[in-house]
Amino acid sequence: MNLVIALIIGLLFSASLFLMFQKSFFKLIIGVILFGYATIFFLFTVGGTTKNAPPLIAKDATSIEGLADPLPQALTLTAIVISIGVQLFVIVLLKKVYEEVGTEDLDDLNTTDRI
């Protein structure tokens, strides 16, 4: 199971980087979204994919054995919110660039790099 998840994360990372290296705006957007998913999935998996009990501790409990670690899930939620915000910004930004520059090729965005 862990091997499958590791392979999926690797696939997501490589696919997103491959897409971001392409010229098209649309592929860049998909690449950014996949990259966000890959990091979040990695963060989530780090907490352990075991079948543990929910982290609710009884008043008289003395040990926390067998309980899931809630922290990675809290971190994942935060990271999801942040990455969705940034992804929306990227989508709107690229739409605006398309309207303004009239191209869909990242290689044409070079006016700021000219000497």
Binding site: V32, I40, L75, I82, V86, V97
Partner: protein, 503 residues
């Protein structure tokens, strides 16, 4: 006691909320922003004084004990950076009153500026790596908005590169934090410092160190990752450029210093020699880029890259003197670089251009602008006795003491090349005769420029005064930097302050 630490943060947050209430009234927003940032400056002075007097200040939010709750920590470096950011913010907000167009102000310039400062201040004060990531995101999203505010073609094009690379670097930070959490089970920096030192498998820790190096490296624009900076920084209006160029990359440098003095110090010979190589390459390629340019703003942007190299060099040498030099250099650089951008904005007002070949004769028409530029430019190049000289001198001395002769030679050669490209601006903008085609377009003289754009001059003079203070009293800052460096290198002080006495 604890309120000193939180007050800079909540002042900015409250000012932001009030700006949102008065969305339609830009004059009210301006008043709120100016008074909010003045209060921010006062509270950061108070915080700095408290840290200077009583040592590291710590707040556990919600009173949860250290490794479990959210911790805010202010040591000398962090509170000093907050103080410098407040000084810059004050100069920028005054400058922006006359520099930023009414349309941009209507689209929310003031609230976004306050949020960005909020993020910067939080990144300096946090004591938890996941919170650091969140603060970085607050700062970055606000800076995205500031860069595209106004929707000019160049701004949008630069923003595509900036946003994409920033998003990738945030992903790297998150991955690094996840690995560290998996290995040690904690996110609190002080707790991590203990856990990393005791961890049996240090090779895995190095893996996360690489992720953090790349993540912060993109944000600080060190050698292989700097290409986004000259492409995106020069595009927005000058008040925004000044703030972003002065502060944001330095937050990345601050985070690198924090991580590579507190956490990843178990194998200095590997990590810090890698940093040293990157520092040398950053300096060299940054200044080469600057020499090739013919645009006022772009030359200054490439100089940021090469100056980042000096700051990383101090960190990489990893002696108390070198880190003190690095801190001195960061403070000096923030003040001088922001001021240079502000002056380029004043020249743009009078001549309508940033291209060197279309500029000229500023010395004849506006002698006081020339003096402001000369002080900052030659300070950046490190001419004695200006403040940049003391920074470079400290770094070079530390490099010689650590017997890293190569980096010292590189840094001196880069200093020479910096002087060369600064004199290119000096000759073609200030000294040379005015080109015929622009002569008719310059309608200002010294007096009318001051009358219509007094805020621009005042804020630039304010920053020049700060530079001159560092020039004539470098001992004060050097002494503070040395104390800050001692605090950084003795991680026990930090750990005890955060975790309490029982550790």
């Amino acid at each position: 006691m604890t309120s000193y630490l939180i007050s800079p943060l909540w002042i900015l947050l409250i000012a932001f909320i009030f700006c949102i209430f008065f969305w339609q009234y830009i004059k009210v927003q301006a008043a709120i922003a100016v008074s909010g940032i003045t209060l921010y400056l006062l509270s950061s002075i108070r915080l700095f004084w408290a840290v200077y007097q009583d040592g590291i200040q710590v707040v556990q939010i919600g009173n949860w004990p250290a490794p479990f709750g959210i911790t805010l920590v202010a040591d000398l470096l962090a509170s000093g950076m907050v103080l410098v950011s407040a000084i810059i913010a004050l100069a920028i907000i005054l400058y922006s009153l006359q520099d930023i167009s009414a349309q941009r102000k209507k689209n929310g310039f003031f609230p976004v500026l306050l949020v960005m400062l909020f993020g910067v201040c939080g990144s300096f004060l946090t004591g938890d790596i996941f919170n650091l990531y969140v603060w970085f995101e607050v700062m970055l999203v606000a800076s995205f908005v500031l860069i595209v505010l106004g929707n000019r073609k160049g701004q949008l094009e630069g923003a595509v590169k900036y946003v994409t690379l920033s998003f990738i670097s945030s992903g790297f930070l998150l991955t690094g934090a996840a690995i560290l959490y998996k290995l040690t089970g904690t996110l609190n920096m002080a707790d991590l410092s203990v856990a990393i030192a005791e961890h049996p498998n240090q090779k895995l820790i190095t893996l996360s160190a690489v992720f953090f190096l790349v993540g912060f490296g993109i944000k600080a624009a060190i050698f292989p990752f700097f290409s986004w900076l000259p492409a995106s920084y020069p595009t927005p209006p000058i008040a925004i450029v000044g703030l972003i160029a002065g502060l944001l990359t330095k937050v990345g440098v601050y985070a690198l210093i924090r991580f590579f003095t507190l956490l990843f110090t178990y194998d200095v010979s590997v990590t810090h020699s890698l940093l040293l190589i990157l520092a040398g390459l950053t300096m060299f390629f940054g200044v080469l880029g600057a020499i090739a340019q013919h645009n006022f703003k772009k030359i200054l942007s490439f100089h940021i890259v090469s100056q980042i190299g000096y700051m990383i060099m101090g960190l990489a040498l990893f002696t108390p003197l070198a880190i003190a030099g690095s801190i001195f250099y960061i403070v000096h650089h923030i003040l001088v670089k922001t001021n240079l951008f502000l002056i380029s904005g004043i020249v743009k007002v009078t001549h309508g251009h940033y291209l060197l070949k279309k500029l000229g004769g500023v010395y004849n028409r506006f002698p006081y602008v020339t003096i402001l530029f000369a002080i900052s430019a030659f300070s950046l190049a490190g001419i004695p006795p200006l403040s940049g000289f003391w920074g470079k001198f400290t770094l070079a001395k530390a490099g010689l003491a650590a017997e890293s002769y190569t980096i010292v030679v590189v840094s001196l050669v880069v200093g020479l090349l910096t002087l060369f490209s600064m004199s290119k601006i000096w000759v073609s903008v200030f000294w040379s005769a005015e080109p015929e085609e622009t002569k008719s377009r310059v309608t200002y003289n010294s007096r009318t420029l001051f009358r219509t754009h007094y805020m621009l001059i005042i804020s630039s003079v304010f920053l020049t005064m700060c530079t001159l203070f560092l020039t004539f009293y470098p001992d004060a800052l050097i002494a503070v930097s040395q104390r800050a460096a001692e605090q950084l290198l003795d991680s026990q002080i930090y750990i005890q302050a955060v975790m309490g006495e029982n550790n």
